[in-house]
């Protein structure tokens, strides 16, 4: 293979021969298992296989036990083409990325009506997320204009249509994804289309700028369909034949890839993007086997095609690290030998301190990967494992099906391209914390070390020199707040997910006490690590959301936060706090949370939800081992 055909999803295993039978077998299960469905979606499915899987999931919808593996999401797909054919690809793509989408798409030509009319099926669907997937035909950019003035007019009309759609949808509180417009491969004046103001090419380029600006201004999510179409080739993307036949906006052969890209964004919105990259060493980060070939024998660096191929893998890993993806090593080697290239060879781009966890031994890789996840305090479903050896890949997939294990082509020159295009680390926007994350994980490992050395907990806390700062939600923190709310699974009392828009509303709502919590210590800045929201109901403040990053477990941050809430509540004349624990598949870690904080249990619901209460009269704060930064004046604007 000299080039990659992205449309066949080459990073995924081909579907097994009996794929359809396996999909059908789901029906026999009393509660079809979310993990099994996600595994079935994690093959290189063609459109027919997507169709079988999507159909089965729609049929079994009410029986599926998503087990926290599949996050439910109400989705609407709005385009100017026929939607039915691409729908199964989107549903399958979403499942692959941990989202079970309740899919709605209007019939052909109905999208605009649907957006405009208040009692449309779209409105009744109450989508959490809407994708605006109009192409050049949907925006009326189908004719070259003679003269810049008439081109301006065409763009103005298209912009007006876009703004109208966005403002209508925004008013309903839904999260919007907008798609850029692919360039149809039909030149008008030829190369000069790039400079002629009236060419379709220029019109589309200008409209894409409008779309990008709007996304940045209003914090909408962008699906760069223009870039995707360019990557597979617009000649393949557009199918005049199937547009004529059935108004398909792009070739149905590309639908599985398109569906996967939509799935990535939905997954990212639900916090399902992967967080760490676990790398094998021999023939993955360098050519050859360090234990056999020695330092001078392995291939890395400029000078040989193979050495450069592995250099590009290292470069990509570092680029991912720069945006917060944690790097770990998992290799079958003697540790000392495995570490040598990192400090002995100048050609190596990755250095030892880029790596959060370094595991080189002769133990089974699946066990080592488990250990890496535990050390980093993240789930194995947040890991990607890159290994050139098919047997190791198969073993890890078998034991840990939730770990993403990309297939790799023969030629290492393509490794980086496969990994970059597999979309495991999709991000919908970088928060400031993202760029620091990899270092934070490393610092955490150092803290664990310190604790082992010091032993006594009180002394340990003191040695950390913690500073906890607590403030209301603000614009600076918003990206991280939304991220934490949508991806914290373990230390999360209610697991309620909110969109950026809902957060903005909560921020303005005077009956909501919203708090963002940051923690620094002598090892570094942990960034924002906790988000808490209470709603005021008469003389009671009711917990809506309380979550914390597991990176700061056992640091007594939650007690510091409670102290602040109690003081604010007492100042506001509130009588009691009500706590809530809604059990999920992943949050048993906090089942004893309220009791530990001194709350008394007052009720339980059928679904296992428990209700807790803390009477404020006579309650005095506990001492916590950290300095507290909090402006109490900002907490006093709560109206009962």
């Amino acid at each position: 293979m000299t080039c990659l055909d992205l449309s066949s999803l080459p990073w995924l295993l081909p579907a097994p021969e009996d794929y359809r039978a396996r999909v059908r077998a789901l029906a026999a299960e009393k509660e079809p298992d979310g993990a099994e469905i996600r595994a079935l979606a994690t093959y290189a499915l063609d459109l027919n296989q997507c169709h079988s899987l999507a159909r089965q999931c729609i049929k079994l919808k009410d029986r599926i036990n998503s087990k926290g593996v599949l996050s439910p999401l109400r989705f609407a797909f709005l385009s100017n083409g026929t939607n039915e054919l691409v729908a199964p690809a989107i549903i399958a793509g979403a499942l692959r990325h941990g989202v079970i989408a309740d899919f709605y798409a209007p019939g052909y030509g109905q999208a605009l009506n649907d957006i405009l009319s208040p009692d449309s099926k779209l409105a009744a669907h109450h989508p959490d997320v809407v994708l605006l997937a109009f192409d050049h035909r949907g925006y009326g950019l189908t004719h070259p204009e003679i003269g810049v003035a008439s081109a301006d007019e065409t763009i103005a009309r298209a912009r007006e249509q876009l703004n109208m759609m966005v403002s209508r949808l925004r008013a309903s509180g839904t999260q919007i994804i907008i798609q850029t417009i692919p360039q149809p491969p039909e030149p008008w004046g030829g190369h000069s289309d790039a400079i002629l103001g009236g060419s379709i090419r220029t019109q589309i380029r200008r409209m894409n700028d409008e779309i990008r600006d709007l996304c940045a201004e209003q914090r909408l999510v962008l699906l760069d369909a223009a870039a995707l179409a360019a990557q597979v080739g617009t000649q393949r993307w557009f199918s005049p034949r199937f547009w004529n036949e059935a108004k398909l906006p792009f070739d149905p052969d590309i639908a599985p890839l398109y569906g996967d890209h939509v799935g990535r964004l939905l997954g990212a919105l639900r916090g399902k993007s992967r967080k760490a990259l676990v790398l094998d060493l021999d023939n993955t980060l360098w050519g050859g086997v360090i234990g056999d070939d020695g330092l001078s024998g392995i291939q890395i660096g400029q000078g040989s095609p193979e050495g450069e191929a592995f250099l590009s893998v290292q470069r990509l890993a570092l680029q991912l690290k720069a945006r917060g993806i944690v790097l770990a090593i998992c290799s079958k080697n003697e540790e000392k030998t495995a570490r040598e290239p990192f400090h002995m060879l100048d050609e190596m781009l990755i250095r030892e301190d880029d790596i959060a966890v370094f595991v080189a031994n002769w133990t089974d890789k699946a066990s080592n990967i488990n250990y890496i996840a535990q050390t980093l305090n993240i789930g194995t479903d947040a890991l990607v494992f890159l290994d050139d050896n098919p047997a190791e890949r198969a073993r890890v997939r078998q034991v840990l099906p939730e770990v993403a294990v990309p297939e790799l082509p023969e030629d290492p020159a393509l490794y980086a391209m496969v990994l970059a295009n597999a979309g495991y680390f999709e991000t919908i926007g970088l928060s400031e914390d993202d760029t620091k994350r990899a270092d934070q994980y490393r610092a955490n490992a150092a803290r664990t070390q310190t604790m082992q050395e010091i032993g006594d907990l009180g002394t340990y806390y003191k040695s950390l020199e913690m500073v906890c700062s607590i403030s209301r939600f603000d614009a600076n923190g918003q990206a991280r707040i939304v991220q934490l709310i949508n991806k914290t699974n373990q230390f999360n009392l209610t697991t309620r997910r909110y969109t950026a828009l809902e957060i903005e509303r909560a921020q303005q709502d005077e009956t909501v006490l919203d708090l963002q919590v940051r923690l620094t210590d002598r090892f570094g800045d942990n960034g924002m690590i906790s988000v808490v929201m209470f709603r005021s109901k008469g003389d009671t403040w009711v917990c809506d959301t309380w979550l914390m990053s597991c990176r700061v477990l056992e640091r007594r941050v939650e007690e510091a936060v409670l102290n602040v809430i109690v003081r604010a509540a007492q100042n506001a004349g509130v009588k009691r706090l009500q706590g809530l624990f809604i059990p999920s598949a992943r949050n048993m870690i906090v089942s004893g949370f309220w009791e530990k904080l001194g709350f008394t249990r007052t009720g339980e619901k059928d679904d296992g939800t428990t209700i807790w209460e803390l009477v404020l009269e006579g309650y005095s704060p506990v001492e916590v081992p950290m300095e507290l930064l909090c402006d109490f004046d900002t907490l006093s604007d709560m109206t009962p």
Binding site: R20, D46, L47, N48, H51, E84, F242, E245, A246, L248
Partner: protein
């Protein structure tokens, strides 16, 4: 008369596209017998057959087939490379 390899492969692909059991399908099956055989699944059928057999159907051929057997007849007129 038994059915040919091409026809067998056709039925297999058809079942895959329509998410149906191959046993329920024969050369005589028409859109009336296969409720999922509509204009959209027909497009997946066209794509899948063209890819599997390495051929290309004309608009006329597509517009005129009324049963699986009809598709088999068209396939027999083509040079199959898949």
């Amino acid at each position: 008369m038994g059915i040919s390899d091409t026809e067998n492969k056709l039925i297999e692909i058809f079942a895959d596209v329509m998410d149906a059991d191959p046993e329920e399908i024969g050369l005589g099956s028409t859109p009336d017998d296969v409720p999922d055989w509509d204009s959209l699944s027909n497009i997946r059928l066209i794509m899948s057959l063209e890819r599997a057999f390495g051929i290309r159907f004309s608009n006329d051929e597509i517009a005129n087939w009324k049963s699986i057997g009809d598709i088999g007849v068209i396939l027999n007129t083509k040079e199959i490379t898949g």
